[in-house]
Amino acid sequence: MNDFMRNLLFLPEQASTFAHRVDRLHYVVIGTTVLAALGVGTAGLAFFWRYRIRTHGQLTQDVKAPLWLEALIVGVPLTVFLAWFAVGFSDFVFFTSPPKKTTDIYVEGKQWMWKFAYPEGPNAIGTLRVPAGRPVRLLMTSRDVIHSVFIPAFRTKMDVVPGRYTQLWFEATEVGRYPLFCTEYCGMSHSMMAGEVVVMPPAEFDRWFEAQKAGRPAVQDGTPVVGERVSLPADLVHEGQRVSAQLGCFKCHTVNGEPHLGPTWLDLYGRVSKFQDGTERVADEAYLTESMMDPSAHVVAGFANMMPTYRGRLQGPEAAALVEYIKSLRSARAPGEGAAP
């Protein structure tokens, strides 16, 4: 049934947990839509025939709707639409809520290419390698205009906006190669800003990943991907350290646990921060990025609102490197797992 409907509607293969989840609703919604349109169209045609004019100046009387019919006319569509919405929204919440442990990959869009960078250093242009069966989270930003990552086989999509980070998570279920498109119009070569997602068996992915980190060329299924390149020794953590020194972050923040003008970065990641307005929040990637771009939004209790925004001063990859650097700063007794995924 699933395959029949999928082929009937020309949907691509289902290669992620979300795809399996969302397609059922898809079949129901499109099926109902087709039936309703045909039903109404046919009812119209039937009336055209049944109630065609028969005599000159035939008179007709006003037909008043009984109350039950009015209730039905309002109630049925409302119920159907709200039911779709309820299911759809719960799926959407699933789509916007990544699990706690994810493999994080930084994505940067620019006219007209995609760059994928792993926190440990390896990076590639145009080809995104992910392990099957593990949740993967993309942390995305753009260097110029708005782009959008779209992986039809995963049924996922998210805009990539300059000046802010957006995230997109998925768990691939099938090993294979799937196209990745840019879906937000971005200029001349918008239609050629394509990429490829390579879903690998987890063990194979780990081997490839270690080989990449060691600086050796990838050896796997024998078809190296165009544009793929081996990373330089410097990884994101070191890059983050360099950037923070350069921008003067250490004037206010320490990395050894001592308080200064701002909160220390040691064990910051994953810690529950208490804010001036009494709210609390776990310091995750979104919070760290927000603190760089919009520091006054959540000021940690006990500190003054004095940090300038770095919106516009930090390039996308630099912000990513800073986040990774902060994530790497862990003392021995720190709660939570290590920085490396």
Partner: protein, 208 residues
């Protein structure tokens, strides 16, 4: 003075009702035009409270205050003019409108002085921002909003002044009288709107 009305209206009362309704509807579109601007202002002020505080501190508050007082006075003059027109005192109407026009000229003059100051100091939007002292992030956005808002408002002042001048012509020719004040009434409504928008802009941009 005899009332006249266009042939497609059943009587002058309906015509007056129509023209007032039309004017109020038009004013509502003007309010929405500025509402979009206030949304942008509110959003960016929320993002960059520091920049908006620094920007408004650098404003010549007393110039803005003078303009506010002058505009309110002119609005008062226009209201009096409407009243006088209804009583058939055309001479009074005319001179009150001229006074309001003079106030408009004064307002634009002051605004021009302020703009020149901003240009000198490099307090300009986007990449033109060159003021060496102000460093708050988002400061150039404050000036983008400032120039957009005051520029759009100044355009409305010019349109309002044209309307007042137009409304002064029948006063000069002694045509206004009881029940025949449509033109000065509508021009006045527009001028009150221009005034009202400024009353919102002044504290938002100069005082915060």
């Amino acid at each position: 003075m005899a009332e006249t009305h266009a042939h497609h209206f059943p009587d002058a009362g309906v015509q007056r009702h129509a023209s007032l309704l039309g004017m109020w509807l038009f004013l509502s579109t003007e309010v929405l035009l500025f509402a979009g601007l206030f949304v942008a202002y509110g959003y960016y002020r929320f993002l960059f409270p520091g920049a908006f505080a620094e920007g408004s501190r650098a404003m010549h508050t007393w110039l803005g205050l003078a303009n506010t007082v002058v505009l309110i006075a002119s609005s008062f003059a226009v209201a009096l003019a409407h009243h006088a027109a209804g009583a058939g005192r055309n001479r009074t109407t005319f001179w009150l409108l001229v006074a309001a026009l003079a106030a408009g000229v004064f307002f634009l003059g002051v605004k021009a002085v302020e703009y020149v100051e901003h240009f000198r100091a490099g307090e300009l939007p986007g990449k033109w921002f060159t003021h060496p002292g102000m460093k708050a992030p988002g400061i150039s956005l404050f000036y983008a909003v400032y120039f957009l808002a005051t520029g759009l408002h100044a355009l409305h002042v010019v349109v309002g002044m044209s309307l007042l001048a137009w409304a002064a012509v029948p006063a000069w020719k002694r045509r206004y009288g009881p029940g025949n004040v449509g033109l000065v009434e509508n021009a006045g409504l527009y001028w009150h709107l221009v005034d009202l928008v400024w009353i919102f802009l002044f504290p938002l941009l100069y005082l915060v």
